[in-house]
Each structure stands twice: as C-alpha cells, then as structure tokens.
C-alpha cells in the first residue's frame, strides 16, 4: 500500500481516536481525587509514539507489560488491568 492509501483508509479513524485520548486525559484532569498507577503508565506509554521507528505498537505494549520473569506465588484473582503496577 502507498502512504496515500493508508491515509485514505485510516486517517479519520486515527484522528478520532487521538481526540478521544485527548478528551480522556482532560476528563481525568478535571475529575477529583487521586489517580492511580494506570494514568502514569498510560502517560509513559504515550511517549513511545514520539519516535521515528515503525514499532510503536510493540513498544507501547511493552511499556504497559509486566517485565518480570518469575512466576508469582499465587494468582490474586482472575482479571488483568491493562497496565503493570510494579512489584508489590
């Protein structure tokens, strides 16, 4: 595909998602109370967009991943949150 074709197919969708992300960050800022680790994790991951390499999706995913290698003693529950809180 040419860059022009990629833009024709996906520009409006990317624009919409970008504005949604901006509005989400505004919404969090307007809200009251403390944020948790997820906000910081998202802000760190957003920095991965600002590079020239074609592996941004991979690096965003890595930024939101548990980087440790040892199995945990017991599962605390079943769900995942979307960002790594750090070793507790």
């Amino acid at each position: 595909m040419t860059r022009q074709h990629v833009l024709d197919l996906y520009f409006m969708e990317a624009r919409s998602k970008l504005i949604d992300l901006a509005a989400f960050l505004d919404r969090v800022e307007r809200a009251e109370g403390e944020a948790d680790f997820r906000l910081n994790a998202l802000q760190q991951a957003i920095r991965e967009l600002d590079t020239g390499n074609a592996d941004r999706a991979k690096r965003v995913l890595l930024a939101l991943s548990d980087p440790t290698t040892e199995p945990i003693p017991a599962a605390p529950g079943k769900g995942a949150i979307g960002a790594w809180q750090g070793s507790k």
Binding site: D66, T69, A75, K78
Partner: protein
Amino acid sequence: MRYIEPHGHMVSRVTDDYVDMATAGCAAVCEPAFWAGFDRSSADGFHDYFCQLTEHEPKRAAKFGIPHFCWLCINPKESEDVQLAKDVIALIPDFLDKPNVLGIGEIGLNKNSRNELKILELHVDLAARHNQLILVHTPHLEDKLKGTRLILDVLKSDRRIRPERVIIDHVEEHTIGPVLDAGFWAGMTLYPESKCTPARAIDMLETYGTERIWMNSACDWGVSIPLAVPRTALEMKKRQWTADAIDRVVYQNPLKFLSQTPKFRV
C-alpha cells in the same frame, strides 16, 4: 468466500450466530475448552462440559451445516486449584477418542502463578503422552509478555513437543516475534478492545508474513464478534490483498495446522 473459525466458544453463542457464520462462508468451527465466566464447583461440572463439547454442540452446529470440533482441558483461570485441575485432567483421556476432539487446549497461563504453571506442565505432558495437538492461551493485557515467555520456556524444555504441532494464541505485536521464531504457530484474536483489531492483525501479517499464522474471533460470552474473521478478510481486500492471499490466511492456514490430526475434515 470460505473461512475456518479456529477458535470460537460456541456454547456461549446463539443460533443466529451460527446462521451468520454459515452465511459468511464458515467451513468449520473449533471450540477450545474455556472458563464459563464462573468457577465450576467440581470435576463433574467439567465432565458435563466435555460431553457438551463432544456430543451436543456438534449436533447443534450441524443443523447449520457447520462441522464442529473441540479441544479439551481445564483452563488456566481455574488452574489455581491444583487438586481440581488434576481431577479434571484425569477425565480427559476418556474423551480423546471422540471424533471431534482435535487436541489439548486452550491451556496456558492467566496470572502467571506457580500453580498455573504446574498445571500447564501437566497438560503438556498429557498432550505429549497421547500425541495430541496443543492450543495455548496467552494471558491478558499486562500479563501477556511474561506469560508468553514462561509458556515458551515450558514448551521448549519438553523434548517431546514439536513446535509445528502447537499453536500459541492471542499474540500481539510484542509477542508474535518470539512465538514464530521458535517455530510455533501463532494465533491472532480479533477483539474490539483488547487483543487485536483487524487493522493491527493485518499489520502483523504484512510485517511477519503469512506462514504459520491464523486469525480467530475467540467469540464467547463476553464482548466479541463471531464474524470477526470474515470482516477482517473484507479489510484485507480494502488493503489490496488478493483473493488467493486472503484465502491462504483465513482458510488454508488453519486447514494446514488442523489437518495434522486426521480427525479434522472439512
């Protein structure tokens, strides 16, 4: 168009989904054993579920002209209870000769705990002893990277396991490379929010090539789209993929992997 749905939890879906899938060209559906959304209270609950997967659901699918196959295991979400898991694993050999059973799956990890890992190893041993294909679930979101690494370690350290007979499912951009590099098959799950969107799945196909990769909807009782595979095929067409290249991914690839067991026929 024709396609194979290699991962759909059809017991959670309604008959309209079967109608839509048949209309879209679904040539076969494969159903891995899964968590019900709540913990089953005993191994008897799994016995009934395995009967559902091997007897009842194939009949329901047949009414819509779709051959139905399944995979058996206790899923990692219920593997924290080691005794329950062992009791369930002991039930599985009696079902392996059923005509629609393809292998052991979807095994794997959920929160990457020691008990989950122990049960994963028992499943891999079961598959090796009975010469079964393996379908592996990788964990969700922040747990996927670590879980995929642990799973690869388990599979690579068992010399009886041939990577070309194992599919590692729910890969994303940060896990697909190590899976394919180690010789395993990779599954991409098309979900609206988590896992892969169609656009990202096609990006990975364009980056890593189409060898040893399949796509699935993993439709279940949660937010998921039973027609995700044919809809992604439409998006591939928009991205100038030829009909032959699309067919290779959505039909021939799953056919190639699954045909490693003679039970799979479409």
